[in-house]
Amino acid sequence: MVVNKNQTTAGKQTGFALLKNGNVVMGLVTIAAFVVLSVIIPQFLTVGNIFNLLVQASSIGIPAIGLTFIIITAGIDLSLPTTMAVSAILGCAIMAKTQSTFLGVVSILAIAMFIGAINGISVSKLKMVPMIVTLAVSTVNIGISNYYTQGKSVSGLPKSFSSVFAGSIGGVLPISVLVFALVAVVMHILLTKTIFGRQLFQTGVNEKAARVNGVNTTKIIFLIYFIGGCMAGINGILTAARLNSAGPTMGPQSAFNNIVCACVLGGASVWGGKGTILGTVFGSIVMALITNVMNLMNIDFFVTYVIKGLVIIAVCYLDVLRNRVKGSR
């Protein structure tokens, strides 16, 4: 049996301590990076570019927030991007037929939640291996997406859909970014200030002990995959609104890499027991930043791969050093 490699005790308290140190450091580093980049690249610190960057960050970050909950239990959900695509496709198909934005949005969420529930039941009740089962579900998602669209993404969506969900406040602040911020705040409260959150950390640190303490770990585990599905659905709504269409091309399996990197860069551990929403938000911004910078500096995209790999390894190493200095492991 694998004992959790992070010897955190009461998850909530350690979470706060991390918040003080790790994330402030991350935040300051990110800001420093922004300043340096704005000097090197002239168009970097323009309002348009920063918001474009944040919109991409939201596309990575909203599912990553869902993954944070899951990763705290050392679980994983590979189906997040494809769930987003298939729920968006089927939901938009309903939206296009009924021309009702409301019905469409509800459908997208419902389908995504349904898939999340399937994952949840598989892992919590049927005790299946999260990695493989979510991969299998993801494969089925892809099959359904391809079959339904047959190469032609769903279109003909009502104008109100994109004007609401892809619009901007005051013509400047994109709705996606606003939703990202709101989701982050709500999820942060859920994770750190509720009994659910506390019980989640307990489950993640030591499932058996949590159960002995009266935590309904089965319910908790089900809920986190369900939340993952919700996040995928929300992302599906926003992405479909931005693209004014829905197709399998919106959420390829490869998009998962960015999502998991965002979580881990933000301090979550794949072995479970650790994770913060704020960290994940920063991690998402960093992942989007790398791409944005590579594009603006017109760097050959092969080199981007190499740089991404180096950044991931370097940041994780910094995390190791930071933990070693603090004396905890």
Binding site: V129, G143, N146, C261, V303, Y305, I313, C316
Partner: protein, 322 residues
């Protein structure tokens, strides 16, 4: 535990549920296509599956140790790039080229091992980072080109010993050797001990760090060979596609074969071998039946899902582990 007789039958069914599922699937395929249960089909299946078998063999060690390696596909890609270019650019003989492929894999595996064991960065992120990094390196090495396998490779692939291809033999040989290492050498015993209980292993004097280190190096070397094999099967080196997604396929095959992602449980033969054959048979059967193109991913997903159900059922009844 009421009726003892009922208990036995039910448990028996659950314990062998995965085998039953596989047999059911194969019966469906066999009924719908006269070509499924043929020697020819089996032969070509193993040849096509040889790269995955080799990837998964290395992955089995890693998983038993409770670790993970997400970089094997990219290691395969880089190794295959150097393998093919050593022949097309430097006209090296095939055997030497294979040596280069394996050596490249070993080096990549060593880098992984160093970052994970010595620098203590977690394996998931290190190997994920290496997956990106090495893929970029592969592109840079071949300048993004697709390269055809040279004639000597084609001649090699066409060799036949008792009507079987060298890939068939080498693939199985690698699996057999790694299984023998696992079961009968002191290193293999250390892997088993570490996987079962890391602390207890340390107490009896097993150098856990060194055991894991070697496992990552080995996994890399095997991935290098597997990458070259993928190239041989497919006839050319495609820098974007080679090895892409192989890591998850390898993990799936291992898990289907009974290896646990939590560590401690696993076998190469029969486990991983069965997992690989089963995985390939899913699409093989569909191809023989002439299935509609949209059906492939849906069937694949559902079959694997069901397989995982049987796996968890099995683990839920009287197992020694969580």
């Amino acid at each position: 535990m009421e009726n003892k007789k009922q208990f036995n039958v039910k448990n028996f069914l659950i314990k062998y549920a995965l085998i039953i599922l596989i047999l059911l699937l194969w019966v469906v395929y066999g009924v719908n296509s006269p070509y499924f249960f043929t020697v020819k089909n089996f032969k070509s299946l193993i040849v096509n599956a040889a790269p995955l078998l080799i990837y998964a063999t290395g992955m089995t060690y890693i998983l038993i140790l409770g670790e993970i390696d997400l970089s094997i596909g990219s290691i395969g890609a880089v190794s295959a790039s150097l393998w093919i270019m050593s022949m097309t650019e430097k006209d090296m003989p095939l055997a030497a080229a294979f040596g280069i492929a394996i050596l490249t894999g070993l080096i990549c595996g060593t880098v992984n091992a160093f970052l994970i064991i010595k620098l203590k960065i977690n394996a998931f992120m290190v190997t994920l980072g290496m997956q990106f990094l090495l893929r970029g390196v592969c592109y840079l090495v071949v300048h993004g080109e697709q390269i055809l396998t040279p004639q000597k490779v084609r001649d090699f692939a066409k060799l036949r010993l008792f009507t079987l291809s060298p890939l068939f033999y080498i693939g199985l040989l690698v699996a057999i050797i790694m299984m023998l290492v696992y079961k009968f050498t002191s290193y293999g015993r250390k892997v088993q001990a570490t996987g079962c209980n890391k602390e207890a292993a340390k107490l009896v004097g097993v150098n856990v760090d060194r055991t894991k280190f070697i496992a990552f190096v080995l996994c890399g070397g095997l991935a290098g060979l597997a990458g070259a094999f993928q190239c041989i099967n497919v006839g050319m080196l495609l820098p974007n596609g080679l090895g892409d997604g192989s890591e998850f396929l390898a993990i799936t095959a291992c898990v289907l074969g009974g290896t646990s992602l939590l560590g401690g449980v696993g076998s190469i033969i029969p486990g991983t071998l069965l997992g690989v054959v089963f995985y390939y048979s899913i699409e093989n059967g569909l191809g023989l039946m002439g299935a509609n193109v949209y059906v492939y991913p849906i069937v694949r997903g559902i079959v694997i899902f069901l397989a995982m159900v049987t796996d968890s059922l099995k683990r839920s009844i009287g197992t020694s582990r969580k």
